[in-house]
Amino acid sequence: MTRLTLERVTFRYPATEAPALEDVSLEVRGGEVVALVGSVGAGASTLLLVAGDLAPRVVGGRLEGRVSFDGEGPRAIVLPAPWTQLSGMAFTVWDEVAFGPANLGLPRDEISRQVDQAVARLDLEALTSRDPTTLSGGELQRVIVAGILAMRPALLLLDEPTAELDPVGARTLWKLVRTLAGEGTAIVMATSELDALPAITDRVVWLERGRVAATGPAALLASDALVVANMGTTVAAVWRAAGLPPPYPLTVAHAAQRWERR
């Protein structure tokens, strides 16, 4: 069973005294989708690096507390900028997607199966023979996500995964996130696409200056504190701006129900 546990984690980047994360505790199990929300510099990306065993192991810095992970697959992260995530070692999109599974030393036929499945999931069939360096940012981001999925991660970490995607691509990705969670993958994502979260996430963690300010179900995005901090959904923010009384609706459907009941 997949499980990621952070116990009272404090992390400082190299040559800095101020912690990027402070006293953060979090547990994520397989099949769960956890969204990290917060303003820039709140620590969401850092938390993903810590969860992915990249901080401090690769980026350096000091970690206090305990991070543990159990799972039948690797943990893998998708970063926001697709260009820097290209392997640079692939002639085609298919080879690029196969880069991770090949590094895992899997047999060729298994690599082939996993790559074909990931390519289909991200709707990349038409691009498989293209040179990755000739793709647009959105196409490239889908290729990078496919490359990570082809490794069959037990824990998937997504850092602003829709930053380069168009609305259709973003919707496809969010739907895929739910599908993966249904298959048992644990997913932690940092995103500013707050309106998409009610349909996707099981839990929301609100980070402020490296600390967990609040945690709860998606309904947290309609709480007064998050709406005031501009971390709520647009519907909740509009409801509040219109001077309508709390509790604020989370989605358009909730707002319509509330409006009809008035």
């Binding site: 196969a98 030393g105 899997l106 490794m151």
Partner: protein, 218 residues
Amino acid sequence: MTRLHPFTLLAIAGALPALAWLLPAPVGGLATAVVALGLTLTGGARLTRTAVLTAAPFWLFLLLLHDLPTSIAIGLRVTTMVASFVWVVGALPPPRLVEAMVAAGWSASVAYVFAATLAAAPVLRARARRIADAQRCRGLSARGGLAHRLRALWALALPLILSSLHEVDERALALETRRLVPGARRTPLSPPPDRGAERLARWGLVAACAAALGWRLR
């Protein structure tokens, strides 16, 4: 030529400079320089032009520092080195080299470091072009007097260096997450065929270099 096994291409690119320095000047250097420049022609006139333009400053400094025979002797050897490197960078796609090295039992991360060196030049050139375009959009002009040109160069070089350094961090994270880690035993996806004739040719090149060394030490 690009169909040759990556190790054969590397063997040629390594043997030519070795022979250039081992064989007596200026005939040895002239012969290897002609071969190396001829090889660049197989990749198109652009490669030859790059090799000649890269070697030209070396010739200039040699002629300033040495007499003519010495300048010619060293210049031909340097030209061989430059042309061989330019040719192998143009003829050898880094992904093929990685596949060949992995198939030969090298660690994937060692193969990547090797191949990334070959891939660095075109990547940096493309980024420099993007930075130059961006700076031009913001009114930077690389024309005018020497002082003006130097200021423009600074405005181009600094973002290039800083962005490259920044990218190193992100690329390291991305490669790490895709398990390009020390000691990883990568599965070669499409290893290039290594024919017996090519293996023989590579040993032939090693033998030629060894024979040239023995002959010079005699």
